[in-house]
Symmetry: C2
Subunit: 389 residues, 2 copies
C-alpha cells in the first residue's frame, strides 16, 4: 500500500458499504466502481468517447486475449496498453486464468502453471504466475491480477482446497516477480514494463467453503498486495450463496485496501455486494446482454425482440436519462435488432452501461449521505430478475 502512485482512500462508510477513491497512475477512480469489460482493447460496440461520456473511470482488459492478439510484445513496443488503444484513464487487467479455464482448449494445470492451446489457432502456450506478471507488466495496466486456478462449481471441498492452495503458491511467485520487475527495472531482459506505478492484487479463492476462504485470505494477506479480489464466484452458485461468501470474505480483508469482486454481476448483485464491503466490480453482462437484445432497466431485464415491442413508442426505460432512452423507442430498437443492424448493439450497450454506471453513482451518493440501506431496499422492491413486460 505504500507505493506512491497507487493509494486507496476510504472516504466514508455506511454499514459495511464503503465510499472510497482509488488513485492510480492514470487517474482517480471513485468507488464503489463498475469496470466495463474491454476484452481485446475495446469495449464491444461502443467507443472510448462513449465510455468517457458515460463517466466510466476505469475499464478492464483481458490478458488472455491481448496476449494472443496482437501480443503483449507488440503492445509493449507501442508503449503499453493505454498508448496502444488510446485510452488515458485507468485500466485493470486480469491474469488470463479465467479465460484459460473458460475458453482455451486442452488445458492442463500443474504446479508450474497452466498449459493450454489457443482457441484461435490451436497453438500451444504455458502461462505461469511469472509469465502472467510479465505480460501484464508489458501491458502496463494500472492494476494487475495474479494468476489463480479457476475450478468448475459446485466444487467439493477437497478440489477447492487443492486449487486454493495452488493459487496461494502461485500468488507468492507472482508477487515475487512483480516486485522484481518493479524494483529492479531491466532485471528480466525479455520484459519491457510500461507502467512503473502498476499495482498488483491478490485473489482469494476457496469456492463456497467459508473455512477455505478464511485460509485463503490469511495466506494471501501474508504475501501483501496493493489490493485484494474475490475470485471463483458468479460461476453458477445461487446469489444468496455468493452474497454469504462475499460477506464472510470481505470482512476479513484489510480496511484500507480496495476489494474487487471478479466477474459479477446482475445489477442487484452490485448493490448487495457493496452492502457487504466490495469496492470494485466488472462484468460482461451489460455489454454482452445488450448484443443479445437484452436491456437492463430499473424494473428488470427486457428482451427487445419480444413482438409486444414492435410498435411500442416508449423508450426502453422512460425514467432513464441515457442517450438511447432520451431519443429512441422500443419499436425502433427492436427493428434494428431484428434486421441485424450493428447500431442495435451500440444503442443497447450504451443504455446498459449507463444503467450500471448510474447505479454505481447512486450507490456512491447514498453511501456519502448514509442512506445506502434505503437505496438497497428500494432496489430490491423495484428490480426483478424476471423479464419485464
Amino acid at each position: 500500500m505504500s507505493f506512491p502512485d497507487f493509494t486507496f482512500s476510504l472516504l466514508h462508510q455506511d454499514g459495511a458499504a464503503r465510499r472510497g477513491a482509488l488513485t492510480t497512475p492514470h487517474g482517480v477512480v471513485q468507488t464503489p466502481a463498475f469496470m466495463p469489460v474491454g476484452t481485446r482493447g475495446a469495449v464491444k460496440a461502443v467507443t472510448h468517447r462513449d465510455l468517457e461520456d458515460l463517466g466510466a473511470e476505469i475499464i478492464l482488459g483481458n490478458t488472455y486475449h491481448l496476449y494472443l492478439k496482437p501480443g503483449d510484445d507488440l503492445i509493449a513496443r507501442a508503449g503499453g496498453l493505454h498508448a496502444f488503444i488510446g485510452w488515458t484513464r485507468p485500466i485493470l487487467t486480469d491474469s488470463g486464468g479465467y479465460q484459460i479455464f473458460s475458453l482455451a482448449e486442452r488445458r492442463r494445470i500443474t504446479d508450474e502453471g497452466a498449459e493450454f492451446r489457443s482457441h484461435l489457432d490451436g497453438s500451444r502456450h504455458l502461462l505461469t504466475p511469472e509469465r502472467a506478471a510479465d505480460i501484464q507488466a508489458q501491458l502496463g495496466s494500472d492494476i494487475a491480477m495474479v494468476l489463480d486456478e479457476c475450478i468448475a462449481t459446485p466444487a467439493d471441498r477437497e478440489s477447492a482446497r487443492v486449487a486454493m492452495e495452488r493459487s496461494v503458491r502461485w500468488a507468492a511467485r507472482a508477487r515475487r516477480r512483480f516486485l522484481e520487475l518493479r524494483d529492479e527495472p531491466g532485471s528480466v531482459p525479455s520484459v519491457r514494463a510500461t507502467n512503473p506505478g502498476q499495482a498488483q492484487f491478490g485473489i482469494i479463492q476457496g469456492a463456497t467453503h467459508h473455512g477455505l476462504r478464511t485460509e485463503s485470505v490469511q495466506a494471501t494477506r501474508e504475501i501483501d498486495f496493493e489490493g485484494y479480489a474475490i475470485g471463483g464466484l458468479s460461476v453458477g452458485e445461487p446469489p444468496e450463496v455468493m452474497y454469504d461468501v462475499v460477506a464472510h470474505t470481505a470482512a476479513q480483508l484489510p480496511d484500507r485496501q480496495a476489494r474487487y469482486l471478479m466477474g459479477s454481476g446482475m445489477p442487484d448483485d452490485l448493490i448487495e455486494c457493496v452492502a457487504r464491503g466490495i469496492d470494485l466490480f466488472d462484468c460482461v453482462l451489460p455489454t454482452r446482454n445488450a448484443r443479445n437484445g437484452q436491456l437492463l432497466t430499473r424494473a428488470g431485464p427486457m428482451a427487445i425482440r419480444n413482438a409486444r415491442y414492435a410498435e411500442d413508442p416508449l423508450p426502453p426505460d422512460p425514467e432513464c436519462g441515457c442517450v438511447t432512452c432520451r431519443r429512441f423507442s422500443r419499436a425502433y430498437l427492436r427493428h434494428l435488432y431484428m434486421v441485424g443492424e450493428m447500431t442495435a448493439a451500440t444503442l443497447m450497450t450504451l443504455h446498459n452501461l449507463y444503467f450500471y454506471l448510474d447505479t454505481m453513482w447512486r450507490i456512491r451518493e447514498a453511501i456519502m449521505f448514509s442512506t445506502f440501506e434505503t437505496l438497497r431496499l428500494e432496489f430490491r422492491r423495484t428490480f426483478s430478475r424476471r423479464p419485464q413486460h
Copy 2:
C-alpha cells in the same frame, strides 16, 4: 418548385459548380451535399449523434428495405420515418427500384411495374410507380424518388431506350399519384401520408447514350418535378464516361432546381461531378468500405489489414481532424479489424464519413470563394484511387 416547404436557392456559381441551399420540411441542406446511406433506418455502425457531430445534414433511407422490414404501414403508424428512427433532419428515400434490380430474386418488369420476390423470405411483391409513391408518402421522407427501371450495363442502345421510355411513363404515373396524395389528402384511403411537405424528384435515364439522356431530360422535365436525379450511372462504366454523361445531362436540367447524382461515388467522383453541376450525392462507399477495412484518405484508399500497419503509430491520415485520426493509430485500428471488433467498423466509418463530409465542406467553401477549380486540381494531384504505399 412552388411548394412552400421545399425550395432550392442557388447562392453562387463557379463555372458549372453550384453552391446552393435546399430547404425542406425538416431543415436546410447546404449543397453540394453528400447523403450518408441509412439503409434500414440507421447508417451502419454509427449513431445519429455521430452523424450530427459529423455535420451530416441529410441522410438517405432505402424504400425497398424499409418496405420489407419493418414495413411502411408500421412506420406510418409511428408517425413516419423521422419519428420512427428519431432523426430530425432531412431524409431522402429512393424508390426501391435499384434494390429490386440488385438484391431481389426472380424479378419481372412489365409496364405495370416490378414484380419480385423478397431476398429475405421469398415472398412475392409488386412495386408499381403508384405503390412506390404511396410507400414513400407513408415513410414521409422530405424527398421521394420516382420508380425507374434500372438495367445492366453496358446496355445496347435499344435496351436502354426501352428502359428509359418505360421510366418516363412510370415517372408520369408516379407524379400523378404524388400530386393526388399531396393535394387531395385522404384520396387514397390505404395511404397515411406523414409529411405534407414532401417533394418528389424525377430520374433521368438513358445509360451512356447522350441522345437518350437528352430525350429523357425533355420528357421528364415536361412532367415537372421539384428536382431531378441522374440515374443509371456508377454501375461499372469508366469514370470518364460517367463524367461525360453527367456533364451532358446536368447542363440540360433546370438551373433553379436541385440535381442529384444517384449512387456515386469515389471521393474524386464527388469533385468531378460538382464541377459538372451536381448538387446532391449518396453512396455506400464510405460506410461499406469502412466495414471491409478500407479507409479513404486525401491520398487515396488504405487497406488497414495490410501487415505493414501492424505497428504503425500514425493515425490513418495524419492531416485529418476526425475523432478517429485524432486519437487512434493504424496499429490499433488494424488490431480491432483483425480480431473482428465491431468498434473497428465504427471508427473507420467515422473517419470515412468525415472525409466525405469534410470534402463537401471544402467544395462548398471553394465555390463561394470561386476557387473551386484550384481545389479540383489539388485533389487530382493528391488523391489516387490506387491503394496507398
